[in-house]
């Protein structure tokens, strides 16, 4: 299949030694339903995510894919069914919610960095206030992760002074500073200029190489093909098809999937 504009090539060889899916369950979603007012946005979602899985969720806009991952850390509340994250069930219990949020990292389309704090402060805030880690130690951790996303020299700047790609890498570092067990990505490259997409994808690939459990809503099919172990296609609030990436792209089963793939890949 021809590479398209959306299909950023990942040039280097991916190190798959640590990319292993374990038997352990990280997220268990059963019979989950959600409505926005009268609109049935998520319908009977059943999804089991094992530790170490790298799942790419794709689908047309309005298909509920963002809403699905936002339910996992309760940015959206589900009305029926069950979501269990790392053994803790999401209910209206605020303590549970905060616990799950501190163990599930999230990156947003628009980064959502805190503009009034420096890059370093963005990264140390939650470890200091939620994890109660001493400031010095939190700063060391923050610098470690900022080096990892290759922008330690920006630590004293404010988010507004950075490019979009740099901001998104800071956002990833900020999440990592909480030492999350699961990372959620909500269209992390959709708001970026084309030349910045690669630097963010590279960071995400490194994360995958270290064995992080990842759920990514993205249109980067090159990333899906090379990094994901499973691709989920959603439409009309339901999971329409899921498969290993190679099979998913080569032999899509449902008509909706075929249509979608032809729309984003075939030009």
């Amino acid at each position: 299949m021809a590479e398209s504009m959306h299909d950023t090539m990942v040039e280097r060889e991916i190190d798959r030694r640590k990319m292993q899916v374990s038997e352990e369950v990280a997220i268990q979603i059963t019979g989950m339903n959600k409505w926005f007012g009268m609109f049935h946005v998520l319908r009977d979602i059943d999804l089991t995510v094992h530790k170490g899985e790298r799942i790419v969720i794709c689908g047309p806009s309005g298909s509920g894919k963002s809403t699905l991952i936002r339910c996992i850390n309760r940015l959206e509340e589900h009305q029926a069914g069950q979501i269990v994250v790392e053994g803790t069930e999401l209910t209206s219990d605020l303590k549970n919610i905060d616990k799950i949020r501190s163990e599930v990292g999230m990156c947003f389309q628009h980064f959502n960095l805190f503009p009034h704090l420096t890059i370093l402060e963005n990264c140390t805030l939650a470890p200091i206030w939620v994890r109660k880690i001493p400031k010095r130690e939190a700063e060391e951790t923050a610098m470690h992760f900022l080096e990892k996303v290759k922008i330690p020299e920006q630590a004293e700047k404010y988010p507004g002074q950075l490019s979009g790609g740099q901001q998104q890498r800071v956002a990833i570092a900020r999440s990592l500073c909480m030492r999350p067990r699961i990372m959620l990505f909500d269209e992390p490259t959709s708001a970026l200029d084309p030349e910045m997409i690669k630097e963010v994808l590279d960071t995400m690939i490194e994360l995958a190489e270290e064995g992080m459990t990842m759920l990514c809503v993205t249109h980067e099919m090159g990333f899906a093909r090379q990094v994901a172990n499973r691709v989920i296609f959603m439409d009309d609030g339901q999971i329409v098809e899921q498969n290993e990436p190679e099979e998913f792209f080569k032999n899509p089963k449902s008509d909706r999937t075929k249509l979608f793939l032809s729309q984003i890949l075939g030009h």
């Binding site: 940015l75 949020r101 599930v104 999230m106 628009h110 959502n112 009034h116 939650a126 909480m178």
Partner: protein, 445 residues
């Protein structure tokens, strides 16, 4: 077809701008005389400014500074200039400035309001200039709400100590019972019980002293150390009174306004309803009405014999009034924040209060600085309304000064002086707000 291909072989060097567009001439041309029409307007405006200023300055400067009464003033004017028209009589300010500043506060105790003012500056410095002043001054800030009333009204030091101790008790109880809501409620309750015991206690001093001995008698109000002579509220007045009411209203309305704004955004229906009801009611009623309620109606509702200080009642009313406006200003700031900020804070596991304190409020307050300071300035000027309920703020005093036969018929000089005092305070606030905006802006982008 023409050839559209072009390749630059040599890059152009930078050149100076033409001399007519820089320097004094450039500035004059750009701002005052860009074309004939604007040049005419500039000249007309300068003429108008000259006309107003010459009249005003003549009145202000060609004036009488030493006179004991208005008639004496007029005699001097006629002697010097041949007419009383167009000359100010500053003798009244010379004669009564202490009264305009302090009201009828006993002159031998003036050091107390002055000390309170100096402490106020020390207490505000670490809040207003956090990056330039030692944070240790914050202890003064913390002690000030208890020191100020003691300095102003006098009495036993055990009163402010007792009030402050109540807050300490509330804090300790709240901390011991870490659970958020229960800790808050029990903390407040224990503080109230503490105050009831503490202030109930002096009444029974003699009984207790007899029963429990000398130790307790030592802290009875009459034998307390640092006993300051009591000054009654009706002696308070002048600019001092305006500043007192203004500072209390400004200091308390900001936190109260923040809570009201958050309450108004709350998901909890009843909290939201109470906050919306409060804000809309207070904003829908003129301040004067509230002041009348404070001065007359409250007495009807309070149990007979309660002595609830009139200045304290006015302070509470002005604070509530300011808080309602403040809440709406801050709500505007909250509305200006993208939802991504809430989601960013939530996704990191910060709880509601942490998110508000660390992420939301710093940004919302920054957006609202101009509105907040406008509210502050407005409320400070509104303190002059207390003259309606017979408190002697500077405007109220100007009436009582005119009631003196010496100064009967003098208006402009008094008003000009009062206006100057208010202008200095309000202009200071305005400049500070601009300084703060600039400071926060350069830090961010």
């Amino acid at each position: 077809m023409s050839d559209t291909s072009f390749v630059r072989t040599e890059m152009l060097a930078e050149q100076d701008p033409p001399p007519t567009s820089v320097g004094v001439i450039g500035w004059l041309r750009a701002n005052l005389f860009p074309n004939w029409w604007n040049a005419i307007l500039t000249v007309l405006c300068l003429a108008a400014i000259w006309y107003v200023l010459s009249g005003l300055l003549g009145w202000t400067l060609r004036s009488v500074w030493t006179a004991g009464s208005l008639s004496e003033c007029r005699e001097v004017m006629i002697e010097t200039w041949g007419s009383t028209h167009g000359h100010a009589c500053w003798g009244v300010i010379n004669d009564r400035w202490l009264q305009l500043l302090f009201g009828f506060y006993p002159p031998e105790l003036y050091y107390r309001p002055i000390l309170a003012l100096l402490l106020l500056i020390a207490a505000l410095a670490p809040v207003l200039f956090a990056d330039k002043v030692s944070p240790r001054l914050l202890y003064v800030t913390a002690a000030y709400p208890f020191l100020m009333p003691w300095l102003m009204w006098g009495g036993s030091i055990w009163t402010p100590v007792g009030v402050a101790a109540g807050f300490v008790v509330a804090y300790l109880v709240g901390r011991a019972l870490r659970g958020a809501v229960a800790g808050l409620v029990l903390g407040i309750l224990s503080a109230i019980i503490w105050w009831m015991v503490w202030f109930g206690f002096p009444v029974q001093t003699e009984v207790l002293a007899a029963g429990l001995g000398e130790g307790l008698a030592a802290i009875s109000p009459d034998t307390a150390p640092f006993l300051l002579e009591t000054v009654e509220s009706r002696k308070f007045g002048g600019f001092m009174l305006s500043v007192m009411i203004g500072v209390v209203a400004i200091g308390c309305s900001l936190p109260l306004g923040i809570l009201l704004a958050l309450g108004r955004q709350s998901n909890m229906l009843i909290v939201k309803a109470i906050c919306v009801g409060f804000i809309e009611f207070i904003r829908g009623v003129p301040l004067i009405t509230l002041l009348f309620v404070a001065s007359t109606l409250l007495n009807i509702f309070l149990p007979p014999g309660t002595n609830f200080d009139i200045i304290l009642r006015v302070m509470i009313m002005v604070t509530l009034f300011a808080a309602a406006y403040m809440a709406e200003v801050i709500r505007g700031g909250l509305a200006g924040l993208p939802t991504g900020q809430y989601e960013g804070a939530d996704s990191l596991g910060l709880n509601y209060w942490q998110a508000q304190r660390l992420i939301i409020m710093p940004q919302a307050l920054k957006i609202s600085i101009p509105g907040i300071v406008s509210t502050f300035i407005g409320i400070f000027k509104d303190t002059t309304l207390v003259s309606i309920i017979a408190l002697l703020d500077p405007l109220g005093l100007s009436n009582s000064i005119r009631a003196d036969t010496d100064w009967n018929g003098i208006y402009w000089e008094l008003f000009a002086f009062i206006a100057l005092l208010f202008f200095i305070a309000c202009f200071g606030m305005s400049r500070y707000s601009m300084y703060l905006e600039r400071k926060l802006k350069t830090e961010n982008d």
